[in-house]
Amino acid sequence: MPSRIVQWIDQRFPLTSFVKHDLTGYPTPRNLSYWWNFGFLAGFVLVLQVATGIFLAMHYKADIALSFDSIQHIMRDVNYGWLLRYMHATGASAFFFVIFVHMARTLYYGSYRAPRELMWWTGQGLLLLLMATAFMGYLLPWGQMSFWGATVITNLFRATPFFGDQVVIWLRGDYTVGDATLTRFFSLHYLFPFLIIGAVLVHLVALHTVKSSNPSGINLADKDNIPFHPYFTIKDLYGLGLFLIVYSVFVFFMPDSLIEPANNIPANPMQTPNHIVPEWYFLPFYAILRSVPNMVGGVLAMGLSVMIFAFMPFLDRSRIPGGAHYRPIFKIQFYLFLLDMLILGYVGYVPPTPQTIVIGQIATLCYFGSFFLVPFISKAEERWLIKRGLPPEVTTLIEQEAHDKEARRQKHLRRQGEIA
């Protein structure tokens, strides 16, 4: 009977072939390390956030007179409301943590290289959507930090040329962050996750076209690919278990460690907090914003600091695959970049003093410098490594890639000739 139902469906919808092609039989490199678990984890956290968010929305009131109280209603009176809220608040941090690791893995192993540029760029779009969603969600509790964070960030759009002031009013729906801002942020905070789901589907379709990269950076022969199920379903589930343990420690034992104390004070437009800090995942970018003395420059620098990742496929000119695996200098660059991110995060967190401002400016220069130097360093490193001698499989791959590129060019030329 079930097989007849499946048969009936298969005549009308490619169910069996889809499951086989994209889920059970999907060929996956067998040498993937645990760093390749984080894409799945990001998908899991997305579902977790949507699920908890929908239930929170059933009890939340998007009205400046009621929202702070409604959060306390959720925390005190709703059955397991405290659990929903702590899962959602911790989930936001977990989402960024998982995404940052996912991005760091891509950078380290050079997974953004051809033919995976579109994966990297859809991922970049996802990061922007995630940041926007998190930012708008942070306004909803209507605490002091919510209000002042939203005020500071929407104010940055004043840097828009010609009609900056109008853009800020348009975003807020009012001259200041107020009820209009709260209701629209709530509406968009509910909408954006569904845009994220759509973008994730595009990300996955691209993935299933180009297939996963792997730690060696070398295209594997068919014998080195194994079906996704059961090998990676179980590996992802084991990784999920580890993730959930860490996540639960935060949710149950230190849920307030990620919430600024000042956000437990209702928003008060008449009283600025001593020190406005964004959530931890925005700190490095916030530090870059503050490091540029000029406001327009700061906004541009901050925008560029997020978007600059998208240029990596162009900036990295080395033909050597495998990212840091075969490239010692790239590896050093990678770790220095992480260190620089941590320093920027620290500078973004502390109240600005003359020392931290200077440190922030140096770190900002290092941040952009490490991207701008990539084309030169990668090319020089490639020359040095080829001179030193590469493993034969890497040389084969470089030749293969050059060959493919030339073939594509010839084909293109022939087609041009045919048209002419």
Binding site: R30, D69, Q72, M75, R76, W82, L83, Y86, I226, P230, Y231, I234, K235, L237, Y238, G241, L242, L244, I245, S248, V249, V251, F252, F253, P255, D256, I259, P261, A262, N264, I265, I329, I332, Q333, L336, L339, D340, I343, Y346, V350, P351, T353, Q355, T356, I359, I362, A363, C366
Partner: protein, 213 residues
């Protein structure tokens, strides 16, 4: 690259010393029902005339297991389902102190340092040369030294004041996070369950992957 690394390292070492405020005393918050009830009593005696706790209802105190008779006295003519509001009207408070005393429902969560800060603050009063009281931890405070911590600096009297402050803070910690005990209890079960599940998944993973060799 090495100079870059050196510059960054030097930058790290020259970070400014943390802003040096008066060190907080440890509150050692109690979580047992007795301490919390004593804290409620002290709170009703010392704080309730000026401070509200609008997210807590008198019924919540009964549900928690406090002596019903006491709650009856505290609520006076207020209904059992009423929120705990200050006895003093906001206008009168404004006239006496120049500001409305803050609501205490979330006080433990709403200050850096949390319970330790509140405990230190309650005990942080001292006598100034002109006879008025000041506070080490919140110099701009308008609150009088309700526990008389500036007068009782030594001996058994001081210990008693510290006990009162600890009870009040313990009560306020419960008020800020009434589900904390439940959360921690549930947390141990969740983590325990996840540890077992993850171990089993790990073993299953090894078993499935061993087919490849």
């Amino acid at each position: 690259m090495r100079t870059l690394l050196k510059m960054l390292l030097l930058g790290c070492f020259s970070l400014p010393v943390w802003a040096n405020e008066a060190a907080l005393e440890k509150a050692n918050v109690e979580t047992d029902a007795k301490s919390i009830e004593r804290g409620a009593e002290a709170m009703m005696g010392f704080c309730h005339s000026c401070h509200s706790m609008k997210y807590v209802h008198y019924r919540d105190l009964v549900t928690f297991g406090m002596d019903k008779q006491k709650v009856e006295t505290w609520r006076g003519d207020q209904p059992l389902d009423a929120a705990i509001l200050a006895q003093m009207a906001e206008n009168d408070a404004m006239a006496s102190f120049g500001k409305v005393p803050p609501d205490l429902s979330l006080m433990v969560k709403a200050r850096d340092g949390g319970a330790n800060y509140l405990y230190s603050y309650l005990l942080g009063y001292y006598l100034m040369p002109d006879g008025a009281t000041g506070n080490h931890f919140y110099p701009a405070t308008k609150m009088p030294d309700v526990l008389n911590s500036s007068g009782l600096t030594e001996g058994a009297a001081r210990t008693e004041v510290q006990g009162q402050a600890r009870d009040i803070v313990s009560f306020l910690a419960w008020v800020s996070d009434p589900h904390e005990a439940e959360r921690l209890r549930l947390g141990y079960y969740v983590i325990g369950y996840l540890l077992v599940l993850t171990t089993l998944l790990y073993l299953l993973k090894n078993q499935i992957w061993s087919r490849l060799k």
